[in-house]
Amino acid sequence: MTATVGTVLRGRTVVPGVVTGEALVSPETISGWGGIDPATGTIVEARHALQGVCFAGRILVFPGAKGSSGWSAFFQSCRLLGTAPLGMVFTVTTTKAALGAVVTRVPALADLDADPVQVLRTGDRIRLDATAGTVELLARAGEHRAGEGT
C-alpha cells in the first residue's frame, strides 16, 4: 500500500498505551542477546542493516524477534538503564517479541493489516495508539511542517 499523511494501520494490542514519535524501521529481524547493547540502546549485530543505530526514544518498527531466548531480558535491561525504545510495532508475534514488549513496558502493536516495515520509513513521525490498535502516519520523513525545525 502507498502511505500518505493520515494513513492508519490497524493491528492487535500487545501492550496498551499511546505515544507519538519518530519511527526507526528495521528491514531485518532483531536479535536481543548478542544483537543490541542495553547500555547505549544501540543495535550492534555485525552485518545488520541498522548496526550502530540507536533506538532509544524512537518507535522501533521491525519484522520480529530472532535468536536467543535472552531477547526479552536484553530489552528489559534497556528499560532499567534508560535506553528503551518509545514504542514497538512488529510484523510477526513470537513469545520473544511479546514478552520483550511486556517487560520493556512500552506501547506495542503487532499483526497489522499491512506490513508496517513496508509502509513506514525511518524518520516518519507517527502516533502509536496501542490501546485502540492503530498507528497513524503524521508526517513523512523529511517533510516536516514549518516551525518544527529540521
Binding site: R12, T13, V14, V15, G34, P38, E45, A46, K66, G67, S68, S69, G70, W71, S72, A73, Q76, S77, L80, L81, V92, T93, T94, T95, K96, A98, L99, G100, A101, V102, V103, A108
Partner: protein, 425 residues
C-alpha cells in the same frame, strides 16, 4: 480466562511475590492473546548469571530485589518464597573451577556462588547447563514446561515430545513461583505439526553432518516446523542436540520432526497431521557444500589459537571421544582447547579417567558456561575452531574473532598442530 486458583494467586492469597508473578503472566498472556494458562511442573530458567545490572540490584536489595526486578518484572522488592514447581538453573557464568583458565571477573564468580546459595535454598536445582535433559531434567512426552535456552527448547519439544515455547527470563521466573505459563503456540497440537518437508538426498550421518543439516534447515524455514526425511542414518542424542541447536541459530526452529525417530512422527503423514506438502525443500550435495562454506566464511588465518568443543554442553560420549583423540598427545604451544560440559557429567568424566587424559594433553574440561554466554576466550585469541555450528554462528560476532567449523577430529588436530586443515569430505 483465569481459573479460581489463578485469580487467588493474582489477588495475593499466596503473597506479594506470587501476585507479582501472576501480574507479569497476565500481561504476557494478553500480549499473546492467549485465552488461558497451562499448568507446568517443570521450569528451566536463569537467575544466577552475573551482570553489572544484577550486581547493582543485589547491592541495593539483595537477591530478593534482583529476582523481583529481573525475573518477575516488578518495581517492588518482594521476599522470594520457595519455588512452587521443580525449577532448574540453565547455563550461567564461569565458576571457581575455571578461575585459573577463563579470564572471568573474580567478583562475578563470587556473586554467582552467592546466588547459588540463595536460589538453592529456595529449591532451584543448579544444573548450570544448557542441556538440562542430559543431567536429570527429562520431561515426559506431552508434559507442559516453561523452558528457555533455544537449543534446550527445540530438544524438549522435538526429541522428547514435551511442550514448551521459547520462554524468557521473566516468564520462567514467574512460572517457577506459580506453575503457570500462557497456553499458546507449542502447547497446542495444531501448532506442533510440520509445515515444511525437507528431503535429504545426500547421506547424513554423524555429528558434523547433523549440524550442517540443522544449520541449512533453520536458514530455510526460519520459525516454521520442518519434517526431515530421506538419506538419514539413525541419529544419537549428540547428533539431535547439534541439529536442533544449529536450526535454532540460523533460524528460530522450536519444533522439528524426523519420521521414525522423534516421538510425534511415527510417519511423515502423522508429522504433518495428514497432508504432506507437495513441494519439498531439497538438501543435496550442493546444499551441504554451500552450508559448510557459509559456516567457514569467517576464517582467513589458519593459525588457530583456541578450540572450543561442547556446544551445546558435551555428552559423555563426546568427552570420551575427545579423550581418545588426545590420548598421548600434547596441545600446540599457544593453542588452547576447552570442552564445555554439565558439571554432573564432568564428575563422571573425571571418575572414568577421561579428564585425566584430556588434562595430560594440556586441554580443559570446563563447566557451567561457555565463551558466548560469558563473552570471553583465552587471552589473545584471534582465530578459533569449533565442531559446533551454533558457536561458529555466534562467537565471531560476540568476540570479533575468526572461526573455523569442522569435525571434532579436525578440531583436535588443530589444537595439536596449531593449524586448521579441515575440509568437507
Amino acid at each position: 480466562m483465569l481459573t479460581d486458583d489463578d485469580r487467588r494467586m493474582l489477588d495475593g492469597a499466596e503473597g506479594p511475590a506470587v501476585a507479582a508473578a501472576m501480574d507479569l503472566l497476565v500481561r504476557y498472556a494478553e500480549a499473546l492473546d492467549a485465552e488461558r494458562f497451562c499448568s507446568v511442573r517443570n521450569v528451566a530458567g536463569t537467575a544466577t548469571q552475573p551482570s553489572p545490572l544484577k550486581a547493582r540490584l543485589v547491592a541495593e536489595g539483595g537477591w530478593d530485589r534482583a529476582f523481583s526486578v529481573i525475573n518477575l518484572d516488578s518495581d517492588e522488592t518482594h521476599e522470594i518464597p520457595p519455588m512452587a514447581v521443580p525449577t532448574c538453573q540453565l547455563q550461567q557464568g564461569f565458576g571457581a573451577d575455571a578461575a585459573a583458565v577463563a579470564p572471568y571477573p573474580a567478583q562475578f564468580v563470587e556473586l554467582q556462588a552467592d546466588a547459588e546459595t540463595f536460589y538453592g535454598r529456595r529449591g532451584v536445582s543448579i544444573l548450570a547447563t544448557c542441556t538440562p535433559y542430559q543431567v536429570g531434567n527429562l520431561p515426559v512426552r506431552g508434559e507442559h514446561c516453561a523452558w528457555m535456552e533455544s537449543s534446550a527448547v527445540v530438544y524438549a519439544n522435538s526429541v522428547l515430545g514435551a511442550r514448551t515455547n521459547c520462554e524468557g527470563t521473566a516468564s520462567t521466573g514467574a512460572a517457577s513461583l506459580t506453575g503457570r505459563v500462557p497456553c499458546w503456540g507449542n502447547h497446542h497440537d495444531a501448532h506442533r505439526r510440520g509445515t515444511h518437508l525437507v528431503r535429504v538426498d545426500t547421506p547424513v550421518g554423524g555429528f558434523l553432518d547433523w549440524g550442517l543439516l540443522g544449520y541449512f534447515t533453520g536458514d530455510v524455514v526460519q520459525e516454521a516446523r520442518p519434517v526431515v526425511t530421506g538419506d538419514l542414518a539413525l541419529p544419537d542424542l549428540t547428533d539431535l542436540k547439534h541439529f536442533g541447536a544449529a536450526a535454532a541459530s540460523s533460524g528460530g526452529v522450536e519444533v522439528y520432526h524426523v519420521p521414525g525417530v522423534t516421538p510425534e512422527a511415527p510417519t511423515a503423514d502423522a508429522a504433518f497431521g495428514g497432508t504432506i506438502p507437495a513441494d519439498a525443500v531439497v538438501y543435496g550435495a550442493a546444499e551441504r557444500a554451500a552450508t559448510y562454506a557459509r559456516l567457514n566464511d569467517q576464517g582467513t588465518s589458519t593459525d588457530v589459537d583456541f578450540v572450543l568443543l561442547g556446544c551445546p554442553h558435551a555428552s559423555l560420549d563426546q568427552i570420551r571421544d575427545v579423550a581418545r583423540l588426545l590420548d598421548g598427545r600434547r596441545l600446540h604451544d599457544g593453542t588452547s582447547l576447552w570442552i564445555m560440559a554439565p558439571r554432573a557429567l564432568a564428575a563422571v568424566a573425571e571418575r572414568s579417567g577421561y579428564t585425566a587424559t584430556i588434562e595430560a594433553a594440556g586441554a580443559k574440561v570446563l563447566t557451567d558456561s561457555c565463551p558466548a554466554m560469558s563473552r570471553l576466550a583465552p587471552p589473545g585469541t584471534r582465530v578459533f575452531a569449533t565442531d559446533s555450528a551454533k558457536q561458529a554462528h555466534y562467537l565471531p560476532a560476540i568476540l570479533g574473532i575468526e572461526a573455523w567449523f569442522g569435525t571434532t577430529e579436525e578440531c583436535v588436530r588443530a589444537a595439536v598442530t596449531g593449524r586448521w586443515s579441515g575440509e568437507l569430505r
